[in-house]
């Protein structure tokens, strides 16, 4: 079992560092920037994916009021059809694909009703975790869809300029063993980059004087070159059976960091303002707006092809939402207790207070997402011919279907830009389709040629009945 941290790959093409060195003239002229201009070839919009993953979905009680007017049938969305949770996103109704009735068949077959780490490990993969013990990091048979799509967009899609990261996994606050949303190509769990400070530091680097940062970066590269050189010498002296594997990983890690430094040195990207953000370890849900700001800035700087955000740290019941409580409007001590003490506890109840807690949290998150969309819809993208939103698919999904740890009748939301292949503005009744079909559809929405996704059981046997191909009514072509 291995565990990756936050970033799935940097410079994922094997020869990228060499390419970059050549492209930037690193060896001969280390400080020559290769970045400008970053215009892309015509006809290849800089597509990207953002995945927002919560844990509990939408309460089943009053879904007609909180989520969508009717879960039955396909129909064009109107403002009246949007429930209280979706209402903040009404300005982006034409981008919305509201999905009801989906079956997470991979979970049904597996009968993992209430174990967070297992269900969360299946939602983005559509496959069952390789046998593992509750509490330990999970292992999957293949990459999760967010990683898979990120790799494709970075490596095979045909971008003119490389992005630093093919995939990033972010969270407010992480308890690693429980956060098993994302898996790399080897099926290893990816741990999130957790906390606002850590996220900004990792993605945007130091806020020091630019020249000092550049000098430090170049000096760091010198140190890495020497480290790399020494690795060659040490390798030959080792007798350990696992030496080659360890040293291969070591060398490629050093190489990837050097690549990242080179890309970063040539990229001018201002970090988002995180004044007032909670500390990295704080269990405070007020981190969410700052992480949305970081995601916006990462996309604006074209740093990543795919970013997954485990919003709210819900699997670990740590984040506090008492600021959503309005004494006058709510006047419910039980609700206050759930919001300020143990949001997870609300996932084991289906009383009015628990339902209200979930509705308030989801509505708050939708409001923040709407603010992000406001910025993305008015920011020209890196290609200069469209907005950021035009080139983005946002997948809002859940580990469980609702707040009582159930796995049927999932509510999913997609927000799709005009340059993607997804057909927005509709409610889609996906009864009869599976989670695997939706993942295939999202891949298709971002030009991937996939005809199926996932569907493996614990032993690695493919369950053919889980895949029916993309849900074509959701695709433009």
């Amino acid at each position: 079992m291995t565990v990756d941290e936050g970033i799935t790959s940097v410079g994922s093409k094997q020869n990228r560092r060499k390419f970059l060195k050549a492209a930037s003239g690193l060896l001969a002229a280390p400080f020559l920037s290769f970045r400008a201009p970053r215009a892309r070839a015509a006809g290849a919009p800089p597509l990207r994916l953002m995945t927002i993953m919560d844990s509990y979905g939408v309460p089943t009680t009053n879904r007609g009021e909180t989520w969508i007017d009717s879960a039955v049938g396909d129909y064009a969305l109107t403002n009246d059809s949007l429930g209280t949770i979706l209402a903040p996103l009404s300005s982006y109704r034409d981008n919305m694909l509201v999905i009801s009735g989906l079956r997470l068949d991979s979970a049904i077959v597996m009968n993992d009703a209430a174990t967070h780490d297992r269900i969360t490990g299946q939602t983005l993969t559509g496959s069952r975790l390789v046998d593992s013990v509750t509490g330990s990091a999970g292992t999957q048979h293949h990459a999760s869809v967010d990683v898979h799509i990120g790799k494709y967009l970075s490596d095979d899609y045909g971008l003119t300029f490389p992005r630093i990261y093919s995939h990033l996994f972010l969270s407010d606050y992480s308890e690693a063993s429980k956060t098993t949303f994302c898996f790399n190509e080897q099926g290893s769990q990816i741990r999130s980059i957790s906390g606002v400070g850590n996220i900004v530091g990792t993605l945007f680097g130091s806020s020091e004087d630019a020249n000092a940062v550049l000098l430090d970066t170049r000096a760091q590269q010198l140190a890495l070159d020497l480290v790399h050189e020494r690795l060659q010498s040490v390798r030959g002296e080792l007798v350990n059976a696992n030496a080659a594997t360890v040293m291969d990983a070591y060398e490629s890690s050093v190489d990837e960091l050097a690549t990242e430094l080179e890309l970063r040195a040539n990229l001018q990207c201002t970090p988002p303002d995180i004044t007032g953000a909670p500390d990295n370890g704080a269990r405070n849900a007020s981190s969410t707006p700052f992480i949305f700001a970081s995601i916006y800035q990462a996309f604006a700087c074209d740093l990543a092809s795919s970013i997954t955000y485990a919003i709210g740290g819900e699997t670990i019941n740590q984040l506090k939402y008492q600021f959503l409580y309005d004494q006058e409007a709510h006047n419910d001590e039980s609700l206050l207790d759930l919001l300020k003490k143990n949001f997870h506890a609300a996932s084991h109840r289906n009383d009015p207070a628990a339902d209200k807690a979930h509705e308030l949290v989801r509505t708050y998150q939708a409001g923040l997402l709407a603010e992000l969309l406001d910025k993305m819809s008015t920011t020209p993208d890196i290609d200069g011919s469209s907005t950021m939103l035009d080139n983005t698919v946002i997948f809002v999904t859940s580990a469980m279907s609702n707040n009582t740890h159930k796995r049927g009748d999932y509510c999913h939301l997609l927000l799709a830009g005009s340059n993607t292949n997804l057909r927005g503005g509709f409610h889609y009744d996906c009864s009869g389709s599976t989670n695997n079909d939706l993942l295939t559809t999202i891949a298709g929405g971002l030009t991937l040629p996939d005809t199926s996704f996932g569907g493996y059981d614990a032993s690695g046997t493919r369950l053919e009945q889980l895949n029916h191909g993309p849900i074509t009514k959701m695709l433009k072509a």
Partner: protein, 568 residues
Amino acid sequence: MNHSAQDRIWKLCRGLLPVACSALLLPGCYTGLADVAGSDGSDGGEGGVGSSGDGGEQGEGSESGDPARPAEEPHFVPTPLARLTNDEFVNSAATLLGLPKDSELVVGAVSNLASEPDVGGLSNDANNQLLTHVGISAYSTVARAMTDAFLDDVTTVDALATRIGCVEDAAGAYDLPGCTRDFGATLVGKAFRREVMEQELSNIESLVDQVDELLLEHEQDPEALDSHILRLRTIVRYVLLSADFLLLVERGAPGEGDDPKAPIRLSSAEIATRLAYFLTGTLPDQALLADVEEDRLADPSVRLEHAQRLLSSEAGRLMFTQTLSSWLGVSGGQVDADAAAAAALSAFIDDWFTEQRPFAALYQAPISVEHVDGTQTEEPFGVLGMRAFVASHSSYPTPGFITRGVFVVERLLCSHLPSDIPADALDGEEMTPVEVFEEHAKQPCATCHVIFDNYGAAFQRFGTETSLYDLSATELGSSFELPALGDVSGPVEGVADLGLAMGNSEQAPACMAELWYRKAVRRSLDADKGDDEALGQLINTWQGSGDTSMKSLLQAIVASEDFIMLFP
């Protein structure tokens, strides 16, 4: 039970004391679970980093006594190439730069490093330490932060010169470039934990020259304070990111290694490194280095002297407390133990360790227990009643008897539970804990639940939400029958009885021995290749000495011949 099933169960039993195997022969529970590599049930090396675990079916051909295994195959587990853990990295870097271990930066540095998998309460399993570029990046960031801390109050070039031990020449001037190189050479010598080669000194020279060229190209004043700091920072980064520092590179003593299949005796410097990291989690100290010079560390009596000294040191006590706290899962629970409770637990562990109390005291020593009504009483619960421990195994709203029972069975008694939930598993979300407990007592749940539910039910008086003791909490019953796990069995009424059964058993100390053996070898166990014999021998030595304290166990490990061998 058919032969195949027996084989699989025997595979599970490998690495445990024979007495533990009887527990694993419970009908139905363990069929099909084939992984014994990680004590926490983790797969022990997915990704193939020299995995010593059998990885499920792939291990079938290497069974002990399996005719498929060539007779001449070495009967030992290869020593994996290991990397410093995060704690070891930070401790070592702080030692190198003379930074106080309790400084905010040093304490916080570990959390800035890439996360590392926990395998049965340990983070040093070499087969789970695959490096990623994020990890390297984090080392680099911490290296910079440590350099900044080292030069924290340095505001002038002269102050910097003093900080790195530079001496004025006759004219009252500092040769800072020269001093920087000397500083680098000294750092390399300590960090690489061996004699420094000429080429490595040249590398430092070359690195400083390259930084000078960089400064020139950027039109920076090479004599400015920032320029000197950049040189130092670059050296520190190089050293702390080097394989010679990050990896526990072992080549063997001079003249060893002629037979590529035979075990190799370590050099004195390598033995010193193993001793230091095993017992203190940091670099060898001066006393160890002195015996490296004298080449005395192959002598077990010399190692024992060092062990006694190091285990009494502050670093040794801290290492022990941290290792045991981690194993007890105290920092990994969903409900945080508060600071006072955590401090009380550390004090308890430290007392048990430093006072060389018998093993049984871990689960039986009198402790002060906080009741739900605010009163306190002294109870013979040992660590099982410490609030930090109980609270850490309380994933409310999951019934506490499940969470706590699973932990006791798997972690404290080294028994393995099934990795999967049966297809007809109970969906008990709408049930009360008592109803869940009662349903679990029926088939098919009972096949497995009867084990950990009953072990966990012993904790019923410790509230799941508050972890406070409540004498009136008896809703699950008044007595619980512990299914046999090794020689732990019988009826218990509460934690006192459970502690009595565990403390007086062979199973619990064997499990403890397995923990420290795994820590020493930095890998999961493979009974097929001699770990069962080595562990059994260790337990016999320890328990047979009449001194069942933890110091006695650790000393038995470092005195063993295997401790100074590299298995290729």
